[in-house]
């Protein structure tokens, strides 16, 4: 069970350009696909400065406006499930799980 909401935010191209190098684009794409969204078409992005503004707007929507309000994240390493409730992921672990 998974719910997604869109919260509109002001678009800032400079911020997206500065933020992009920190991002693992492949992981972002596969995460979106697991949520049933295939709006990211490119397989990889070499140079963010050469991209059209439409692409930046798409990234803005995906990164800042899309909010998973209900769902769960599964750790790729230990398969632990982290619940997301009202948009807040619960990352707390028991003393025996650390």
């Amino acid at each position: 069970m998974c719910r997604i909401e869109i919260r509109e935010q002001e678009f800032n191209a400079d911020f997206i350009r500065a933020f992009f190098p920190k991002l693992d684009y492949g992981v972002l794409k596969s995460t979106l696909e697991s949520l049933g969204d295939d709006s990211l078409k490119l397989d990889s992005v070499e140079d963010i400065d050469g991209q059209p503004e439409d692409f930046l707007r798409l990234l803005h929507k995906v990164l800042l406006e899309m909010d998973v309000t209900q769902g769960e994240m599964t750790c790729g390493n230990c398969q632990h499930k982290y619940q997301i409730n009202e948009g807040i992921p619960n990352m707390l672990l028991g003393a025996d799980e650390i």
Partner: protein
């Protein structure tokens, strides 16, 4: 001053009623806002052009997040108290929230943040709330994971209420082991109430020589309490008082240093006797 961290662990102390009281108290709001502005100032070189992606450690109900919104930054807040976070949700802030225990590490991708701020949080980490919790290893894990989460050359500013000098040394020791450089900035060091501790940490080198920011006092800036060697040479005593006027001027000087308001001005009438028959 009472210390809430001695009463209960944070996730239990800040229950629904305590979180509500904390957030609706205008005095707390004002102090938190002032400290957030100061922390942002200490975060440094804010050109105001590109907004930063900041981490708010122990964001609580988002009193500090509100300021980050105002300044146009993007932020992620983490806190251990679900009650505080549910109030933050009601307050409709722009930033994202995460329920996590910083003592178990900061769970984000390495190099994600352009900086981190934390208001009145660090002292909570110094308490062992359960038999399995060891403050030292929790601080170590926190600073190690924070160092990884910050991009190179960025800063982290922590406002906190240390119990003693030993506690400051204890915390800073772990920050240094994790690879941070930096030190402590003490604002208004002569005042008991306005005195505030800010731990400024630098993650990696930013190319240029980093200068510790100066602390604030009522009259101007004083040098910070860093790791500079202090001269052991003591200046000769200068407070030998000769007259009542000197004594009064000395007391006024001390009050001004403490940042007291309404200290009378100095004039030629200072310390003079009134005429007889008044």
């Amino acid at each position: 001053m009472s210390r809430p961290e001695h009463i209960a662990p944070p996730e239990i102390f800040y229950n629904d009623s305590e979180a509500g009281k904390y957030t609706s108290n205008t005095r707390v709001q004002q102090i938190q806002a002032e400290m957030t502005y100061r922390a942002l100032e200490l975060l440094g070189d804010n050109d105001g052009q590109t907004p930063k992606f900041l981490l708010d450690i122990g964001c609580g109900s988002g009193l500090s997040g509100e300021i980050l919104d105002e300044e146009g930054h993007y932020w992620l807040g983490c806190d251990i108290s679900p009650s505080m976070l549910s109030i933050a949700l009601e307050r409709d802030l722009e930033g994202d929230l995460m329920l996590s225990d910083i003592g178990s590490g900061v769970h984000v991708r390495a190099g994600s943040f352009d900086g981190a701020i934390s208001i009145s949080v660090l002292q909570w980490l110094c308490n062992a709330d359960s038999t399995s919790a060891n403050p030292g290893s929790r601080l170590m894990r926190f600073f190690n994971s924070l160092y990884a989460a910050l991009s190179r050359g960025s800063r982290a500013v922590f406002q906190f209420y240390p119990e003693s000098d030993d506690q400051v040394g204890f915390i800073m020791g772990f920050a240094q082991k994790a690879g941070f450089s930096g030190g402590l900035v003490v604002d208004y060091p002569n005042s008991r109430k306005a005195k505030k501790f800010y731990l400024c940490l630098f993650a990696g080198v930013s190319g240029k020589e980093v200068q510790m920011p100066a602390a604030k006092t009522e009259t101007g800036t004083v040098s910070n309490v860093g790791r500079q060697s202090q001269s052991t040479h003591r200046p000769p005593r200068t407070n030998i008082k000769h007259s009542a006027k000197d004594h009064i001027n000395h007391k006024k000087h001390l009050q001004r240093q403490k940042g007291k308001q309404g200290v009378p001005l100095d004039s030629k009438y200072t310390g003079r006797k009134r005429r007889d028959g008044f």
